[in-house]
């Protein structure tokens, strides 16, 4: 009953057949976490009591002969930007080292109601700012496939915890690729849902018009179960919508796959390019139609993304004043306390982005940066709209590069930003995207990104299951 091997269905079958109890499974999972953490460092906080209480509740349910809930007995982790009532929540920052969440995030409520066993909170780049978890104030997470390499980021701890078999599911958060890119680097499935599909209430904000919570799992089916658990309308988030299911069943034989030439250009690793083309070829062999498409404004997406990300971040992170919560540094007057608390509490990348955003929003520069970036956003939206007139989905690599070495890109922030090239356009226009396991190069995982029109997550899941059957 090693968690490493199991799916949701596998666990629940085992529980019902009394091959093991939920308490035994959870104890086993916690032991496995304790064994792996010294080398992996996927977790920032372990929530043993919470896990054992949920496991006991599952066992009681079975003893009473009640039906299992969708996530009954399933070991899960959550990115440390998602609040869990009365549990420390740091967002990977020294600023929030001692922050205890006063309430549950909406998504936390939903997975608790569904019976999930919450094992702990996972490591991340500070406030979600990074693509490797190396920007965490608490040290980097390692890639389970190669401990000298990064797991991706910012939700690197979540991806690593699933890939290493410490848990079966994880919730991450994706502002510009922070679920899909670590899923790609760690060889698991990761979904960024359509903007509005999942409530952001109780999530520590990075860039509010881009942030979206989503699932990590080892199979598409498990990712779908977790997504369906959390994608409910929530009145606490004004951008949360009631998903009207667009029942669009497209079999692989009718499927039209768009392949944008802009996603196979300069900067793409040649091995990744070949593996992704081969993977798309598998769909073609199965009967899908491949259509070459153009997304002409792709080359401007990254600059527009970083202007909007830093601008929104500079406003969102203004709340950290050292007064109401978070890191506090004494000074002789109020302004002095703001300055010293923020300067000591935030790490270098956070300060860099706050300053970039402050600059982009400042008088004289606002039109040239912020408004221009929003115009690019409109142009990108038009690109995707015209592409989706011709195709059902779009495919390409999730990341232009393989998981890189720890320390390889930390000295040059712009180099780190370029890793997000294929993932940021979706956040800008709100589209859903999934990273599926395409294969491996030199034992390092490669992810295939599949993009669908808004609220067509079901199509992404059906494609994921098709790929798993073709592999």
């Amino acid at each position: 009953m090693n968690v490493t091997e199991l799916t949701i269905e596998g666990v629940q079958k085992g529980l019902i057949a009394k091959e093991f109890s939920a308490v035994e499974l959870t104890e086993n999972a916690l032991l496995n976490v304790a064994k792996q953490e010294p080398s992996l460092h996927a977790f920032l906080t372990i929530t043993k009591e919470l896990a054992m209480a949920a496991a006991k509740a599952t066992d009681e349910r079975i003893a009473k002969g009640e039906k299992l809930l969708p996530l009954s007995g399933i070991p899960c982790s959550l990115k440390d930007a998602i609040l869990v009532e009365e549990v420390r929540c740091t967002a990977g920052s020294r600023m929030l080292d001692n922050y205890i969440a006063p309430y549950d995030a909406f998504v936390t409520e939903k997975i608790k109601e569904a019976g999930a066993v919450i094992i702990g909170k996972t490591n991340m780049d500070e406030f979600g700012m990074g693509a490797s978890t190396e920007n965490s104030s608490f040290g980097a997470t390692k890639n389970p496939h190669n401990l000298e390499r990064v797991p991706g980021g910012s939700s690197g701890g979540s991806a690593a915890s699933v890939a290493a078999g410490e848990v079966i599911l994880s919730l991450g958060e994706d502002t510009g690729g922070s679920i899909r890119q670590p899923a790609s680097f760690c060889g698991v499935v990761g979904l960024k849902p359509t903007y509005g599909a999942v409530s952001r209430a109780g999530i520590i904000a990075l860039a509010s018009s881009l942030d979206q919570v989503g699932p990590f799992a080892r199979t598409t089916k498990d990712a779908q179960i977790l997504f369906e658990t959390i994608s409910k309308r929530d009145l606490r988030d004004a951008t949360s919508v009631d998903i009207k299911k667009k029942k669009k069943e497209v079999g692989v034989k009718e499927l039209r796959i768009g392949v944008p030439k802009e996603y196979f250009g300069k900067g793409l690793d040649s091995g990744v390019s070949k593996l992704i083309k081969d993977t798309i070829g598998k769909f073609e062999s199965a009967g899908a139609k491949i259509v070459e498409i153009e997304l002409p404004h792709t080359q401007y997406a990254l600059a527009a993304y970083y202007i909007l990300n830093t601008s929104e971040a500079s406003a969102n992170l203004a709340r950290y004043d050292g007064i109401r919560y978070g890191f506090h540094q004494e000074a002789s007057d109020l302004l002095g306390e703001y300055l010293s608390s923020r300067s000591e509490g935030f790490g270098p990348e956070v300060k860099r982005r706050i300053m970039l955003g402050t600059y982009a929003l400042s008088e004289g520069y606002y039109d040239a940066y912020y408004v221009k970036a929003q115009k690019i956003r409109s142009l990108l939206k038009q690109d995707f709209e015209s592409a989706f007139n011709k195709v059902d989905v779009i495919m390409g690599p999730t990341s232009p590069v393989l998981p890189f070495l720890l320390g390889e890109k930390t000295s040059n922030p712009l180099k780190m930003y370029l890793v997000d090239t294929y993932t940021v356009p979706l956040n800008l226009v709100g589209l859903p995207g999934i990273s599926l396991v395409a294969g491996k190069i030199d034992n390092l995982p490669v992810g295939l990104q599949v993009i669908a029109p808004s609220f067509e997550e079901d199509l992404l899941f059906s494609i994921g299951k098709t790929l798993e059957s073709l592999q």
Binding site: P102, H297, I323, R324, L334, R352, K372, I376, S378, V429
Partner: protein
């Protein structure tokens, strides 16, 4: 290339205090990134409407009645406050007579 004074001005607006070596590093980093942002100048987009949000545009309304926050949550939030006096958040002097 932005100059040191600009870096210090931005830091001041952002309520950050930078050490001397940080100023030099950020001057270099910010200049490089802002140069990259300038690639957007190549796009002519005068007639394009700015897109503020990708959310579905739908108004969410509720009855105009006050809502009481759960006192348990209030007390948990107040526990996070650094300095409290008589149930209020206490801060240092805002204005000094100099």
């Amino acid at each position: 290339m932005i100059d040191k004074e600009q870096v210090m001005r931005i830091a001041k607006l952002a309520r950050l205090e930078l050490k001397e070596e940080e100023i030099a590093k950020y001057q270099q980093d910010l200049s490089e990134i802002l140069d990259y942002f300038d690639t957007l100048k190549k796009v002519s987009a005068n007639d394009v409407e700015p897109m503020i949000h990708s959310a579905t545009q739908e108004n969410i309304v509720r009855d105009d009645v006050g809502r009481k926050e759960n006192p348990v949550i209030i007390s948990r939030m107040m526990r996070l406050v650094f300095s409290i006096k008589d149930g209020f958040v206490k801060v240092k002097t805002i204005l000094t007579s100099k």
